[in-house]
């Protein structure tokens, strides 16, 4: 069988395990469930897949109030009521008031698309179960009109979750799973290079050193991640700072640690670290 192969892009570096997982999902036409620490590039993965395969990306950001139905279609009753009262357009045509959600758009699309269901864990606990059938069969019926929306080309579905809520078993069984590990220093250096190609080696080394030391500080509630590192380096360069040292006080620490408790935890760790040397 002929299938498209994903190898990452020049902006998005992957590991071999991640490529395997993506290719499994593409070939078996199953949703790919990606989990991992916040800031490890789960959302960017979908963009990279769309970019690498030359497909359109449909982004469905899930919120705590999102219902599965919103992804299929919304029947705009209020508009129809309004139109019926104030007479604008053909009220008899229900189809005019049916608006496709992200899933509906992905199914109705003429060419294959990448559908990103982002942060699925944010919604209600039942949300993933409500989508099971539609994702499996790649079709749904609009009850108001009786129309069936069938996917012409099965979309490549990428689902991200912040590894914080248990998803239902039945849902998990249908997905290809990948857990994005936090990048090790070598890979991280390459990732930073992608975003800051002309960064001086010395600053990169020092920044990585300080960054990983910071991640090891005990008691952090939110350890800084890749995206924070990239932002931090951008700030350092903008400010013209040529060298950073953890001991000498970190410049722009706020770009890495965003919670007050974490800043306190860091200050305490720094105090402990300094005492034996004094």
């Amino acid at each position: 069988m002929d299938f498209q192969k994903f190898r990452g892009t020049d902006k998005y570096l992957t590991s071999s395990a991640l490529e395997s997982a993506v290719n499994c999902a593409l070939s078996l036409e199953r949703p790919l469930l990606v989990r991992g620490e916040p800031g490890t590039g789960k959302t960017q993965l979908a963009e990279a897949i769309a970019g690498a395969l030359g497909l359109r990306l449909i982004h469905w950001p899930v919120k705590s109030t999102t219902r599965a139905q919103d992804g299929l279609y919304v029947y705009d009753t209020v508009q129809r009521l309004y139109d019926s009262r104030f007479g604008d357009g053909d009220v008899k045509d229900i189809r005019r008031y049916i608006k496709h959600g992200a899933l509906g758009q992905a199914f109705a699309s003429r060419e294959r698309v990448v559908l990103l269901i982002d942060e699925i864990d944010k919604a209600d606990l039942e949300f993933p179960n409500d989508l099971l059938h539609e994702l499996d069969r790649m079709r749904f019926v609009v009850t108001e009109t009786g129309d069936e929306i069938v996917a012409r080309e099965r979309p490549a579905v990428v689902i991200t979750s912040n590894a914080e809520k248990e998803l239902p078993d039945a849902f998990l069984r249908r997905c290809v799973f990948h857990f994005i590990e936090f990048p090790e220093k070598d890979l991280m250096a390459r990732i930073v290079r992608v975003h800051h190609p002309d960064l001086e080696q010395k600053l990169l080394d020092q920044a990585l050193q300080a960054f990983y030391a910071l991640r090891d500080v005990d008691g952090l509630r939110k350890r800084p991640s890749t995206s924070e590192l990239i932002d931090w380096i951008a700030v350092l360069r903008r400010a013209g700072i040529a060298s950073v040292e953890l001991e000498a006080g970190m410049p722009f620490l706020g770009a890495l640690l965003k919670r007050e408790q974490d800043l306190i935890a860091f200050a305490e760790a720094a105090m402990r670290g300094r005492r034996p040397r004094a």
């Binding site: 069988m1 299938f3 071999s16 395990a17 395997s20 997982a21 290719n23 499994c24 999902a25 070939s27 078996l28 199953r30 469930l33 989990r35 009753t77 209020v78 009521l81 309004y82 019926s84 009262r85 606990l125 590894a163 914080e164 809520k165 248990e166 998803l167 078993d169 998990l172 069984r173 997905c175 290809v176 799973f177 990948h178 857990f179 590990e181 090790e184």
Partner: protein, 393 residues
């Protein structure tokens, strides 16, 4: 050829079934594993593992199945691995000393490691016989021995077997620790929705109905949003044998406190067993009588008791122990517990001790309250119990 491996996975608690077997067969049929063992590792992991908590079990099964890594070498207690991670200052060896270290072949070294671990009972550093750090025994980490086996902490190998043996996902296992986030997630399931409060949502159905009845003249109907209306009573055992668990109790408390979906949360403390009074502070001052408390908290409240349920039997059987601080409770501890269990049909007891330690008084209390371990899995089961209700068993 991979079916025995799937059974190996099942033996280790990774729930794989026919669906995984078929997907795997399909994927291999397409050549997704590129004909390599490393590729097989990646494909099988993507298809058989569904949650990161199972990654460690998968790695162990893979290592065991495809290289027959002696299980006992992997079955090192976490304690052993933990102290191997921080090598004590490495001993400086002279050439003479290096020569003196006996040269062992791999098989022999492995066999010795197995025997040593079986014999070894406590932490050991800088010696030349036991498994430890910074020493010259053939087993351990951060030390020196020409043909030694490095225990744990592998050096970032690239092959699948090395990766599997590294067991990098050990920290993600669900039966080990509970951080606040895990607890919050588990507690989030504790909820029951009702509509009450300000009418702030458009009720479409009712609007249509009213508009139709009103001969097409638009008439808007509003309704109150759905909100959780669950009340939780948290009773925490403090002091004495609970001191080692203070940390996890603290986390449970802060998660419960932060949870926004409880209509009301009351946290009260006791020591060893509940008698006539429970206390508003962990210092067991500012007491509150149980009887009026039960009048305030009707049976729809969810009761969560956290304690190791370990005490001397007389504390359970006598009325008013030395911990009741002069409060004439009138009834023995067990009677108070049974009273609580009867009052709250939705109740669960969370025990931070492993199940093996649930003997003596814990065995008795277990018959009064459904008891769960204070781990991620245990907490989830307890929450499910609390939502189903009816704890008679």
């Amino acid at each position: 050829m991979f079916v025995p491996f799937l059974y190996e996975l099942r033996d280790r608690g990774v729930k794989v079934g026919a669906q995984e077997a078929l997907s795997l067969a399909e994927a291999l049929g397409m050549g997704l594993h590129r004909g390599t063992l490393d590729g097989f590792y990646e494909v099988a992991r993507a298809l058989c593992v569904h949650r990161e908590q199972d990654l460690d079990a998968f790695d162990r099964a893979f290592a065991h199945h495809f290289r027959a890594v002696p299980d006992d070498a992997l079955a090192l207690t976490d304690e052993v691995l933990q102290w191997l991670e921080q090598p004590r200052t490495r001993r400086q060896l002279t050439e003479g000393e290096k020569k003196l270290i006996e040269r062992l072949d791999l098989e022999e070294a492995r066999e010795r490691l197995r025997r040593r671990i079986a014999e070894q009972r406590e932490r050991h550093d800088r010696g030349n016989r036991w498994v430890g750090t910074g020493g010259t025994s053939p087993h351990g980490a951060g030390g020196f021995h020409p043909t030694g086996i490095k225990v744990g902490e592998a050096p970032g190998g690239k092959g699948a077997l090395e990766v599997a043996v590294e067991r990098r996902f050990r920290d993600l296992r669900s039966d080990v620790t509970l951080d606040t986030r895990h607890i919050e997630v588990a507690l989030r399931r504790l909820r029951a929705f009702v509509r009450e409060g300000v009418l702030s949502e458009l009720d479409v159905e009712s609007t249509i109905d009213k508009t139709a009845r009103n001969a097409g003249e638009l008439e808007i109907a509003m309704r109150a949003p759905r909100r959780s209306n669950l009340r939780v009573l948290l009773l925490l055992d403090v002091g004495g044998s609970m001191d080692p668990h203070a940390d996890v109790c603290e986390r449970l408390f802060s998660a419960a406190k932060r949870a926004t979906h409880f209509k009301e949360l009351r946290t009260l403390y006791f020591h060893n067993c509940v008698y006539g009074r429970v206390y508003r502070t962990a210092g067991l001052i500012d007491g509150e009588s149980v009887i009026p408390l039960l009048q305030e908290c009707d049976p729809s409240w969810r009761l969560i008791v956290v304690g190791d349920a370990l005490m001397s039997p007389w504390e359970l059987q006598s009325s008013g122990s030395r911990w009741s601080f002069g409060d004439d409770s009138g009834a023995p501890g067990i009677a108070w517990l049974m009273h609580l269990a009867q009052h709250f049909p939705h109740a669960a007891w969370l025990n931070p001790e492993p199940e093996a330690a649930w003997y003596g008084t814990a065995e008795v209390i277990r018959r009064v309250f459904p008891m769960y371990r204070l781990t991620q899995d245990g907490l989830l089961e307890a929450v499910q119990r609390l939502m189903r209700g009816g704890n008679r068993h």
